[in-house]
């Protein structure tokens, strides 16, 4: 039995998204929410396996919900469902721990296919997102080098992960990269998953460090 949290403020879209989720996961039990506040309550009330989160909500951003879920239920997967396809909107959600994104205007078939892939551990990665990730890790490394803090374990990219990112940034698709590097589709997907995970861990560590520096760390 799959528990899905569906956060979307527009009722029609919510109905339609629910249908999409049931198409991919016919056995799923779906909890609906229209606001960030409701979603937070649901998160503290029960366990979820998957969350479909809209970004622009009346009382806040879906990024908060993504972060809250990552914090409360690390094993749950958050998928951002949005109309914004640009990295400016997506990147913060990915940093907060989202494990992929769906673009709302795509056809139902495409969305179903992508959702299935995400749930199977194959999140999408566009060139612009890849470029942002590369920039982010480069900046991290620079600041750590500058401040002479030891590199945080588990948050630096391996050479292979870097290789994959660079190729995605240049416009190659994941299957193409698999062929180029002579790797299976699953291995490439694993690299992408690792990149997402490290992005989240590193961002969280960064936030913690920043809070510590400002004396706001209260735990």
């Amino acid at each position: 039995m799959t528990h899905i949290l569906l956060l979307e403020d527009l009722p029609e879209i919510r109905v339609w998204l629910k249908a999409l989720a049931l198409q991919v996961f016919p056995q799923a039990q779906i909890t609906e929410a229209a606001r960030v506040h409701d979603a937070r309550e649901q998160i503290s009330a029960q366990r979820f396996d998957l969350a479909l989160v809209d970004l622009g909500l009346p009382d806040g951003s879906g990024v908060e919900v993504v972060a809250a879920l990552r914090e409360a239920q690390p094993e749950a997967q958050s998928v951002v469902v949005t109309i914004h396809d640009d990295d400016d909107h997506l990147f913060p959600a990915l940093q907060a721990g989202a494990f992929g994104y769906l673009l709302k205007e795509q056809s139902r078939e495409q969305l179903a296919e992508q959702l299935k892939r995400i749930s199977q551990g194959e999140p999408p990665l566009s060139p612009s997102i890849a470029r942002r990730v590369i920039q982010y890790f480069a900046a991290q490394q620079r600041s750590q080098f500058r401040e002479k803090t030891p590199l945080m374990p588990g948050v630096t990219l391996t050479e292979r992960e870097n290789e994959v990112l660079l190729r995605v940034a240049k416009g190659y698709t994941l299957p193409e990269i698999g062929v180029q590097l002579n790797l299976s589709r699953h291995t490439i997907a694993d690299y992408v998953k690792q990149i997402y995970r490290k992005l989240n861990v590193s961002s969280r560590a960064e936030v913690a460090l920043e809070a510590q520096r400002l004396g706001l760390f209260r735990r």
Binding site: W16, I83, D86, K104, G171, Y172
Partner: protein, 612 residues
Amino acid sequence: MLRLALLLAALAALAGLAGPAGGADEAALLTLRQAQVLSVPAPTLAPPDGGHYTPQALPDDWTGPSGPGEQVRWYRFDFDPPPVPAATLLAVYLPRVCSNLEVHLNGQLLYRGGRLREPVTRNCYRSQLIALPAGLLSASGNRLDIQVVGFALPRVSGRQRAGGLSEVIVGPHALLADRHERQVFWNVTLAQIIAATLVMVGVVMLALAWVRRAGYLFYFGVVAVGWALLSSRVWWRDIPLAHGTLELLSCIAFVPLSVCALLFLLRYCGVTSRRLDLALWSQCLLLPALLLALGPERLFTGAAICYSLLALEVFVTIGYFLAHAWRTRREEFWLLGSILGLVAVVVAIEVGIQDRVFDLPQVHVMHFAIPVLFCALAFRLVQTFAQALTTAEAARQQLEQRVHEISAEIERNFSHLAEVRVEQVAEKERKRIAADLHDDLGAKLLTIVHTSTDERISTLARDALEEMRLSVRGIAGKPVQLADALADWRAETVSRLGDAGIEIEWQSSEPATPRTLAARSYVQTTRVLREATSNLIKHSGASRAVVQVKVDEEFQLVIRDNGRGIPLELDGRLDRGHGMASMKQRAKQMQGQCLVESGPGYGTVIRLTLPL
């Protein structure tokens, strides 16, 4: 250097003027160098008859010791008037008589120079010219009696003021008046003029010193004013003070004056030593004490000691000063050196006169040479000051210029900041509009996309949504790196065609240098490519496609497929499903062009060319 030469020339000219006149008329002059002299205890009204006169050569300087109070001597001359044309007024000329005199001719009182009793009128610095009335003169055997009242050398503090009588000259009045006037001019009138000048210079210096808080200028001003005051005894004949007091005071006054001169030189060199100052100032007590201890009968000895000591100090200080100037202010050395050298020479001559190394001259160099040199020095000081002022003003102007530049720069920076701010505000506004569009229009279109049962409406709504998103990106966007744009296009196209099962070959050359694409061009090109890809997937039936991107002077995108091409019967309503017209329209908007080549069985080639 030029100034120095001029100064020397001026001094030489003065010396020439001061010399004795030519001897053309010497024959008309009778010079009496022998007299009968009689000392009396007090001034008498008439020449004492029957007294015991003794012969005396002239000039007669009263050098011997004497009692307190004034001394009185009667000089008697018997002479025949020199042979002169008739009706020529004769006169008697005395180059020097000190302190005062009374002249009798043939028993008649002819002239009195002022008071004969204390305080005796002081005529020591001026010559005397007394006209001889023709009515009193006989052709021969005239008797001239001159009563001189004065003080012996030991009781004065300067040899110029010791009692005495020079030779007596009888001759035509016109001739002697000339000599007399010259003598008075050089010794008295010039001293007055210079004293006035010196007072002005001194006051200016004191004012400068007060304003600038410059110690050396203060000392210089004090010396100048002090010297002018001290030299007043040259022309002020009836100072209401007893002789002994005045002589003592004028000697004592020299001490602080010299100390100030020394301090001026030292301060000008930058020497400030409390001990040295104290030592110098202590002389103001010690030397007067010495003079008092020696007593009025040895005043001249004491004064000579004082003058010599002070002159020695002045020489040493000038030497030090010049050595310092040579080390630090080479350009000033020659000017200052010559001025101070002349000062030293003049002082040396004066001390020599006092110590009787030299004879008493008729013209007193000290009284005009030193003030002239003072003025030269003052001129130099003012010049230095003016130079410093000019430099300071130039510096101030430079500073103002700099401030002006900096404020201009600040203004520029400020306006730049304002521009940036405006841009930021505009950017924020664009983002707000974009967000609104997304949230309102986007949400509605999205609802249509996903709720419409009609596939056609759903597709139209999706297209509209996509259009809107790209538009928003166009207005909100910054220029896109061409390499990034190529990557985005490749990823999307390859992914879509791959999903549709069409083999795709992407050929693109990375631009050698980073280039950017305007946001609008990026958006329009994305639409054209997307449209072409959709057509390819939906209508062409192709199994293979090639996309070529070339970037050089212009941007060229070629999409080629091996499909059936656009069938003839479709050509008439080409735009309905294929969007060829909109592609061309978009290309036109970007000042580019979009060409479509197609034929049944040959596939389709779409060429988009844009200027970069």
